[in-house]
Each structure stands twice: as structure tokens, then as C-alpha cells.
């Protein structure tokens, strides 16, 4: 079986890619996608460590993370739609004011 280290390193790499995406992209939808990459990297850690410890708790936490990710995606995309109605753009730079 592949050592635990490999999974944790892969998870770290994926999380870093997600972080880079949040910093680098200028599109709200791609930023949300990058957050999903980060959530998945954390899920991989939970499942790998759960397997390492011989416990199902990792998979149960992953289940809850997926549910919260679904809720987050629904509300986040609704916010994107509401923002797009106001400014006709998805660039985060257009949304620097708190009120208009």
C-alpha cells in the first residue's frame, strides 16, 4: 500500500493549487472552483488519515464537508448571480464597495 506521506503531500499540493487559484484568478466562478479544490484536498487528508488509523471517522467528516460544500456552492453562486445583475461583470475588482 502507498505510504500515508504520499497522500498528505498530494493533498498539500492540491491545497496550494487551490490557494493560488483564489489569489490569481480574476473571475468569481473560478475563485469558487478553487475553493472546491481546497475542500477536496482536505477531504483527501481526512480519508487517508482515517484509513491510517483504521477508523471510519475520516469518511464521516468527509461526508459532512461535502454537504457543507454543496450549501456553500449554492449560496455562493446565488451571490454571484445577484452581483452580476448589478455590475454585468464577474471580476472581483468591480466589487470593492460595500454599498451602491
Amino acid at each position: 500500500m502507498v505510504p500515508l506521506n504520499y497522500y498528505l503531500i498530494l493533498s498539500g499540493v492540491l491545497f496550494s493549487i487551490g490557494t493560488a487559484g483564489v489569489f490569481l484568478r480574476r473571475n468569481l466562478i473560478t475563485v469558487l472552483l478553487s475553493i472546491e479544490i481546497m475542500l477536496n484536498a482536505v477531504n483527501l487528508t481526512f480519508v487517508a488519515v482515517g484509513r491510517y488509523l483504521g477508523s471510519v471517522d475520516g469518511q464521516i467528516i468527509t461526508f459532512f464537508v461535502m454537504t457543507v460544500a454543496a450549501a456553500e456552492a449554492a449560496v455562493g453562486l446565488a451571490l454571484v448571480i445577484a452581483l452580476f445583475r448589478h455590475r454585468e461583470t464577474l471580476s472581483p475588482d468591480a466589487y470593492t464597495s460595500l454599498k451602491w
Binding site: M1, V2, P3, L4, N5, Y6, Y7, I9, L10, G12, V13, F15, S16, I17, G18, T19, A20, G21, F23, L24, R25, R26, N27, I29, T30, L32, L33, E36, I37, N40, N43, L44, V47, R51, Y52, L53, G54, S55, V56, Q59, I60, T62, F64, T67, V68, A70, E72, A73, A74, V75, L77, A78, L79, V80, I81, R85, T89, L90, S91, D93
Partner: protein, 174 residues
């Protein structure tokens, strides 16, 4: 001789990393979503390698099936195929220097994590005899509905709130 498990791990890991890089590497959100579905498929393969078939199936159904369809729907609804180029006037954290700082921090994070983990001397996994108990869907269900029953119910309320919230937020104002 490389074992089957190791080979499969490298293949899935490569697909996941390359697809994720593709998600953040190009400007078309539609292509990003398709690549992210590929990345999720590779992660489902890794879950199978980790004796977690329930999580693998949930990953495909919930993530690749439901959440990504939601993203696709919004991309098609808003109809903005390409993102605008970066404005040259922006300074501070929004300028090119800020982007370089962000990219540098991400690379630094990756190097730190890899360096720290490669120094850890973690041996192999728990015995293969544990594989049956870890991969048992019956055991997951048992723990989910007894030990984690409160969290489960709280999650259902969260979903309800998110559903109502999404409808209210996306509704057209009169």
C-alpha cells in the same frame, strides 16, 4: 517492480494535479469546470485505493454530479465565456506585484508542507485486516446515525437554510 497500488496512485495523483492546474491555468470557466470534474474523478479513484468506496461514490454523485452541474448552470446562465484581462492601473494587492506575492506564498506553502511531511517517518498503513471495517458502508451508516446523529440533523437544517438563502439571493428584485 512497482506494485499495482503505487502505479494507480501515481496515475490518479498526476490526473488530479494536472487537472487542478488546468482549472486555475486558463481563462474559460466552462473548461475549468470540465477539468475540475476530471480532478474529482481522479480523487474518487484515490478514495477507492484508500478502501473508502462509499466516499468515492459520494464524490462522484454529489461533487461531480450535483455541485458541478450547479456551476455549469450558472456559467451558462451568466454567459461570460472569458474573464477580462487584469487592469494595468490597479496597485497594491490588486496589482501584478500582489499576484506575484500570492503565487509566491502558494509555492512557499507547498514547499513547507512537502518538506515537513517528507521528514515525518510515518510507516505503512494499519493492517490490511482493518480494510474490511474501514470500507464497510454499514459501519459508516451506523456511526453516522448514532454517534454523529446531531451533526447529521444540523446538516439537514443547514441545507434547508442554504436552499432558502439561495432562492432569496438569486431572486429578481421588483
Amino acid at each position: 517492480m512497482v506494485s499495482m497500488d503505487t502505479l494507480a496512485f501515481y496515475v490518479f495523483a498526476a490526473i488530479a494535479v494536472i487537472a487542478s492546474l488546468g482549472v486555475i491555468g486558463q481563462g474559460n470557466p466552462m473548461h475549468s469546470i470540465m477539468l475540475l470534474i476530471g480532478s474529482f474523478g481522479a480523487l474518487a479513484g484515490l478514495y477507492i485505493l484508500l478502501d473508502a468506496p462509499f466516499t468515492a461514490v459520494t464524490q462522484i454523485i454529489v461533487y461531480a454530479g450535483a455541485i458541478m452541474v450547479l456551476f455549469l448552470f450558472v456559467v451558462m446562465l451568466l454567459n461570460v465565456p472569458r474573464e477580462e484581462p487584469a487592469p494595468v492601473t490597479a496597485g497594491g494587492l490588486l496589482g501584478p506585484a500582489g499576484f506575484k506575492l500570492g503565487a509566491g506564498l502558494s509555492v512557499l506553502l507547498a514547499i513547507e508542507v512537502i518538506w515537513g511531511l517528507s521528514r515525518l517517518g510515518i510507516a505503512g498503513f494499519a493492517q490490511d485486516a482493518d480494510a474490511a471495517t474501514v470500507s464497510s458502508v454499514a459501519r459508516i451508516g451506523n456511526e453516522l446515525f448514532t454517534q454523529h446523529a446531531f451533526a447529521f440533523e444540523a446538516t439537514s437544517i443547514l441545507i434547508l437554510v442554504a436552499m432558502v438563502g439561495a432562492v432569496v439571493l438569486a431572486r429578481r428584485e421588483h
